[in-house]
Subunit: 335 residues, 2 copies
């Protein structure tokens, strides 16, 4: 860890390398028009002086921050981590950085979660959360909405996984194991609505009665716990539960435990998201993979193609989800 006394400027680099400031700029932009020896001299000077281009200066001069802003729901619901990995992979060749904020990170200074990103002039905004009325978008900054949302953003690209198909697959799996009494716990928001619709379609197709307990609040471990308690209370013969996401499924596992039911012996549970939590030894949760890593790669493509052609039509990508079988499903023990 070195400390520096004064920040080197582009002029220092130019002087040390014996070239013009414009030539340093060309090297920084990786221009092919610079000769190999001059490029080497500039790179050596950059290293020697520990020069780092100022994003503030770059942003003001060229209007670009080389950064993509990502707004996520909430740091405690880590479904977005694989999305970020895919986004990293897809943005690497373009040299675009990523900045992440959850919706509440700057509520102490501003009401709009986009403010910080817009004022630092991000290249594009990735909205991995439900749009809210507080969000004021700029027509100059492309928006890519990730996931199925209840509110549309005019002109935005959308990249999502087919949530309706995902829950249909999950119910078909439970039905194939012999379950007839399958409950669903869910919440509000666009994804939850589609996951509910897929559940209802699949139950109807199998000739089964639906049983839904949902909350308007966030889909958390705590709401999953409380929904499951109510569901088991209303119908003690329930043999399987499909949760709207992994956090709620975790709460369902706790409620089963509290009710003296073993998982999957007495109660099968399926989550949704294939979040890092679902893959832990403790949960080992059967879940639906929204393929967030692939989604991140697609979002990166949408960002890059939009930056290359700002006027192109809005795109919509819909990925087919995958059921991930782990340890929380079995044939029903009870009739």
């Amino acid at each position: 860890m070195a400390t520096e006394r004064r920040r080197a400027t582009i002029y220092d680099v130019a002087q040390a390398a014996g070239v013009s400031k414009s030539l340093v700029s060309l090297v920084l932009r990786d221009s092919p028009s610079v000769s190999a020896p001059r490029r080497a001299a500039v790179l050596a000077a950059i290293k020697e002086l520990d020069y780092r281009p100022s994003q503030a200066a770059t942003a003001l001069a060229g209007g670009t921050s080389q950064t993509v802003g990502v707004v996520i729901d909430d740091y405690t619901n880590a479904w977005f981590v694989e999305l970020l990995r895919g986004l990293q992979e897809g943005l690497a060749s373009a040299g675009l950085r990523i900045a992440v904020s959850d919706r509440t990170l700057n509520t102490h200074v501003e009401s709009d979660p986009l403010d910080g990103f817009l004022s630092t002039r991000v290249e594009a905004l990735v909205l991995a959360t439900e749009p809210t009325p507080a969000m004021r978008f700029s027509s100059q900054i492309p928006v890519i909405v990730v996931g199925n949302r209840a509110t549309q953003v005019p002109g935005a690209d959308v990249a999502s996984s087919d949530d309706r198909l995902g829950t249909r697959q999950a119910i078909e799996h439970l039905v194939s194991l012999g379950h007839r009494n399958i409950g669903h716990i869910g919440g509000g928001g666009g994804s939850s609505m589609l996951r509910l619709a897929g559940y209802q379609e699949a139950m109807k197709a199998a000739g089964l009665d639906e049983h839904v307990v949902s909350v308007s609040e966030l889909t958390t471990e705590d709401t999953g716990y409380r929904c499951t308690q109510r569901l088991l209370d209303e119908d003690p013969d329930t043999t399987a539960i499909l949760a709207a996401n992994d956090s709620m499924a975790m709460g369902a596992m706790a409620a089963a435990q509290a009710a003296g039911l073993s998982v999957p012996g007495d109660l099968s549970i399926i989550g949704y998201d294939n979040s890092p939590l679902s893959g832990t030894h403790l949960l080992h949760l059967t879940t639906v993979d929204s393929r967030n890593h692939d989604l991140g790669l697609h979002v990166a493509q949408q960002v890059l193609s939009r930056l290359a052609d700002p006027g192109r039509d809005a795109q919509r990508v819909l990925l087919e989800p995958l059921l991930i079988e782990r340890g929380t499903c079995a044939a029903p023990r009870r009739p």
Copy 2:
């Protein structure tokens, strides 16, 4: 959600309000020298034009981004969430924003996790992770290290919780319940080393033999699972385990379950961090609270006092941790 055609500038606001650009600046800085009617006119114009000051311009003009950069370990280990809440509370009055990055967010474009923050000219850097050799600090930007770290950052403030005292309290609690055979699972890094030292001190003070299984890798659910398997394998008479953090404790719970041991009937488990995970219904984990929210408030104070007086001596804050008793500890059933 409004969309705008062209971004309003400070000049547009001045023109619409019939005042000078300097007066708009004064209103933005909340100066008391502006008369109420003129302030009202400026605020109305700001609202009407949807004007948002550019951080890039502010940064270049005044050298300030009004943002504090926070580097965390890893988005999937959510211990930092309460730290952020405290930081928000403490920075609100100063109007300072927060930007967060985990150590790997921009590894696709840069090797140094500080690069992005330094190039956007953050006011201060909060390092809530172990410093690495790749990090190059700037002498112009104050650093506050959160937590006890193996590597020191010269001149930095430090805000931490007394990790050694925390594990001593945990062991004293287990001893008071009647446990004699208490194992410890841990990892690398400064906090882990101090937590290990506290365990060793308390075991020695109680006249008990220590039994430690640790990894050099990250302290995750998976390493917690594997360390516990080895610990139970080496000493099947273990009646209690103290984990270096909540993630490892979660893995310990899974390993106990896999070994057919009930928690806390057959095995008591204590975590560390009082992370959101520990408070879930499924874990309901007894843990040591590092008081991360209070730590966030202290860090905010350190940031503000350092910005007010850049030349002041480095400060060190050490908080006393608290044992949080939940459901994973009981008297030992086995002798």
